[in-house]
């Protein structure tokens, strides 16, 4: 009689536990995505499968354990007049529930190790892209084709994300997940990534690839991918890297091989044109217009659009001794940064025109009327020693 009772209650409890599990794991899908992406690479699909296997194992164990517990809570209570049994150990049971979990772990460890070994085999790549993390932007260098550029948060997101900007993030397309220069890659190609950083640790993460890797100053990490489907894929820096950690997204565009080749040709042309631009003499108006753009995209995060800075970490440029002082000293700080401060060396981040324009702008804006013009060719000469 009592035995039957236990079985009936246990069946009712198991149904309730399964219903609750469904309620918390499946029902919320109606609201927004609740699960990991399957991604667009073989590795990401393997990872997704592993994730689902272990999730199911946990669900089954959880349902069994909680069913036992809530059955006891329902049946074995004093208010129902249940008398406490006095047993306190069972070697058999204890050995059993040590051995079974070990067996489950072994079953899980096998596919996990296999997937891991594939991920760590980085040889045989068709092309290599070096990724360098900076506070708070990414630099991409295509080691095979010589293309390089900096990728930062797009202007629309950047404007909307300022404190109390009054701009509705929902009105900004791909808010915080859009950049000025996306990294473009071919589909169906084994791409090797060399990942490093220049200042602090960052982490490069595009979820559809199935992995993230830390970008560590002074060390180079390797990772690889083969993307199956063309598309625009978005990710973010995943390692806390300072105040704008939340604002250095990644946009990866995968194109079919032919379209990718066309993009490479376009980029190479752009780089050749830029090299020509370095040698010509720029007018003040040209430098000021470009300088304002560069300043707002790169410098204003810390020094602020009005040049007044953000005390105490980020000094004002308007009326500052450096922006109105000796030109050469100003150029050195901008090119090489300042030790012990957040001011980084921009020499390796921006091209000569950008630096010349930004310098000209900061030396002539907000009442800094030095009248100095800095030509890209001057910067090139200083950079090359």
């Amino acid at each position: 009689m009592r035995k039957e009772n236990t079985v009936i209650v246990a069946i009712a409890v198991v149904a309730a536990v399964i219903a609750v599990t469904w309620g918390i794991l499946v029902a919320p899908r109606a609201l927004a995505p609740v699960n990991m992406t399957q991604g667009v690479t073989q590795f990401s699909r393997d990872v997704y499968d592993l994730h689902m296997i272990i999730l199911w194992i946990c669900i089954v164990i959880g349902v069994l354990v909680f069913t036992a517990m809530f059955t006891a809570i329902f049946l074995h209570r004093k208010s129902r007049g249940h008398e406490a049994a006095q047993f306190s150990h069972s070697t058999k049971a204890e050995i059993l529930w040590t051995i079974i979990p070990i067996a489950i772990l072994v079953v899980m460890a096998y596919p996990a190790t296999k997937t891991l070994i594939t991920m760590e085999t980085t040889g045989g790549a068709d092309m290599t892209i070096k990724i360098t993390g900076y506070q708070w932007k990414w630099k991409y260098e295509y080691l095979d084709s010589g293309i390089e550029f900096i990728s930062t948060l797009d202007a629309a997101s950047n404007e909307a994300r300022q404190l109390k900007s009054g701009i509705d993030p929902a009105s900004v397309p791909d808010y915080l997940l859009n950049v000025d220069n996306p990294v473009v890659v071919p589909t169906g190609t084994k791409i090797r990534f060399l990942i490093t950083a220049d200042d602090v640790i960052h982490a490069w993460w595009v979820p559809v690839l199935g992995w993230k890797r830390d970008a560590i100053p002074g060390f180079i990490n390797e990772a690889w991918t083969i993307i199956d489907e063309p598309g625009t894929y978005r990710g973010q820096c995943a390692e806390l890297c300072g105040k704008d950690h939340g604002f250095m997204p990644i946009v990866l565009i995968a194109k079919p091989k032919a379209e990718y080749d066309a993009w490479v040709a376009g980029q190479q042309q752009r780089m050749a044109q830029e090299a020509e631009q370095v040698q010509r003499i720029w007018s003040k108006a040209e430098l000021m217009t470009k300088g304002e753009d560069v300043y707002n995209a790169q410098c204003a995060t810390c020094h602020q659009p009005d040049g007044k800075g953000l005390a105490p970490a980020f000094p004002a440029l308007a009326g500052s001794g450096i922006a109105t002082g000796p030109l050469r000293q100003h150029i050195d700080i901008v090119l090489n940064g300042r030790d012990g401060t957040a001011m980084q060396g921009w020499g390796k981040l921006l091209n000569e025109q950008d630096i010349a324009a930004a310098l000209t702008y900061t030396r002539n804006a907000w009442g800094n009327d030095t009248g100095d013009l800095v030509q890209p060719s001057t910067i090139a000469k200083i950079k090359n020693g």
Partner: protein, 543 residues
């Protein structure tokens, strides 16, 4: 030692000194326990307020309330305050109050050091909190903002707060080590004659093991932060590749401390739960000896799994496989514990007073945190989970619904013994139900956010994460406000109410229930004679 004992003996007939000096000069384990507990409660609310700043900013996409740098100060300080200010001191408070009473000792072995262990902490926290508080008033650059893990090179960019933070960590480490030495000395030397090791309550066992963990790892943390200090101020390059150092080495050293540290915060919780469940099931703890061995195994494993916190730094394949397998092993002894708790309830005669409700909630929700921990151990999948909200959800399930719920359960369980009055059962149950509901609204959706791709430690997010962040923030405010009920319960219970009996709970076993409620200022000045009816784990069960 003999001098101290003589002194204790001299004034055993007197009550405590009066006024503020009682608390400053006290060497009484109960007074010091109270100091620890009150301090921990205060810090629980300070750290909680910081969490609410975080959740308020994350209520909607866009930045509405604070600048990103201040947001980072909040995440950093929330962790430091909750770990070093709330959870650890609270467990030491429980140890001070309960360990001597549970083993039949008159006091802690080293009462003056005990006083010093506590009184270092308020000074350390003044130092830790000062830069943040001054920063709020516009003085200086604010608190540390590089995360509680203080990873270089980012932590080396901290402003004036840097040295404050490191010296505070040093002071807290000294306090913890002294507390741990005291607990070990008390347990090993001060037990009543018949209190054999395998008769000790599980709470005492878990604290004994925890104390060894503390002594082992606190110096490691001190070493790591000292290297940071010299890197910053004295030109060393331990963690800078430019000078031949390695930023990842910091992470290895830090987590060699950090992983045992998280068990320091959960093992005594296991102890508390292992006291409460048998009491309200009116049935001896199932598998007492295997519980002891499981605790020891977890403690041992905690030293050899540290790198699972840093699978994405680019370790060699062999290291990744090793740390994955070692980490998965932790599930075995942890599983044994959960199975033993459930089997203790099985065929008991359960009643569901407030402490039992919290303990049951602990078992369910800690197990969920354990499941996500197992998932995080799988390296290839961790490449996705790492540094996302999935991790945030995981460690809040084990630390809030784990450690904090056990602390609250223990508070309800022993507060009648501390104050001599029964707490308000109705209010306690309200506190329980509201907390349990809101804590899940708060943390469960964070699993979804992490899986959907939201990194942790970001002050603003793209609109695809809006729904669950809003739900999580609502849960946070509900959970935070519910904790005011706990203050009301404690306040009422200290001031009066229904008189508590010596045993308090029908099914309670153990020496602490053989002394009157409230426990006299001095207990067990002569060692009690112990028979099997008094101890939770009598000899005839322990084999």
């Amino acid at each position: 030692m003999s001098e101290t004992t003589a002194h204790m003996h001299d004034d055993h007939d007197h009550g405590p000194a009066s006024g503020i000096m009682r608390w400053i000069t006290t060497t009484n384990h109960k007074d010091i326990g109270t100091l620890y507990l009150v301090f921990a409660l205060l810090m629980f609310f300070v750290g909680g307020l910081m969490a609410l700043v975080i959740r308020a900013e994350l209520f909607m996409p866009g930045l509405q309330l604070v600048e990103p740098d201040f947001f980072n100060q909040m995440t950093t300080m929330h962790a430091l305050v909750m770990i070093f200010g709330a959870v650890m001191p609270a467990f030491v408070g429980f140890a001070n109050w309960m360990v001597p009473m549970m083993v039949g000792a008159p006091d802690m072995a080293l009462p003056r050091m005990n006083n010093w262990s506590f009184w270092i902490i308020p000074f350390a926290f003044t130092m830790l909190l000062l830069p943040l508080v001054l920063g709020i008033f516009g003085i200086g650059g604010g608190g540390p903002a590089s995360g509680w893990t203080l990873y270089p090179p980012l932590s080396l960019q901290t402003g004036d707060a840097f040295a404050f933070t490191i010296f505070a960590v040093h002071m807290l480490g000294i306090s913890s080590i002294m507390g741990a030495i005291n607990i070990i000395a008390t347990i090993l030397n001060m037990r009543a004659p018949d209190m054999t090791l395998l008769r000790m309550p599980l709470f005492v066992w878990t604290w004994l093991i925890t104390a060894f963990l503390l002594i082992a790892v606190m110096p490691v943390l001190a070493g790591a932060v000292t290297m940071l200090l010299t890197d910053r101020f004295f030109g060393t390059t331990f963690f800078s590749a430019a000078g031949g150092g390695d930023p990842v080495m910091f992470q290895h050293i830090f987590w060699f401390f950090g992983h045992p540290e998280v068990y320091i915060m959960i093992l005594p919780a296991f102890g508390i739960i292992s006291e409460i469940i048998p009491t309200f099931a009116r049935k001896p703890l199932f598998g007492y000896t295997s519980m002891v061995y499981a605790t020891a195994s977890i403690a041992f494993l905690s030293f050899i799994v540290w790198a699972h916190h840093m699978f994405t730094v680019g370790m060699p394949l062999g290291a990744e496989i090793y740390f994955m397998l070692a980490t998965m092993m932790i599930a075995v002894p942890t599983g044994v514990k959960v199975f033993n708790w459930v089997t203790t309830m099985w065929k008991g005669a359960m009643t569901f007073e407030t402490p039992m409700l919290w303990a049951i909630s602990f078992v369910v929700l800690f197990t969920i945190g354990g499941f996500s921990g197992l998932m995080l151990a799988i390296v290839p999948v961790d490449f996705q989970y790492h540094d996302t909200y999935f991790v945030v959800a995981h460690f809040h399930y084990v630390l809030v619904t784990g450690a904090v719920f056990a602390l609250i359960a223990g508070m309800y369980y022993w507060i009648p013994k501390w104050t001599g009055y029964m707490y308000n059962e109705k209010l306690g149950k309200w506190h329980f139900w509201l907390s349990t509901i809101f804590v899940n609204i708060l943390f469960f959706p964070q699993h979804y956010l992490g899986l959907a791709g939201m990194p942790r430690r970001i002050p603003d997010y793209s609109v695809q994460f809006a729904e669950f962040n809003m739900i999580s923030s609502i849960g946070a405010f509900g959970f935070g406000i519910s904790q005011l009920l706990m203050v009301a319960v404690i306040w009422q219970c200290v001031r009066g109410g229904k008189k508590a009996s010596a045993r308090v709970w029908e099914g309670a076993r153990g020496l602490e229930w053989t002394v009157p409620s409230p426990a006299p200022y001095h207990t067990f000045e002569t060692p009690p004679a112990i028979d099997d009816s008094m101890v939770a784990h009598p000899d005839d069960l322990a084999h």
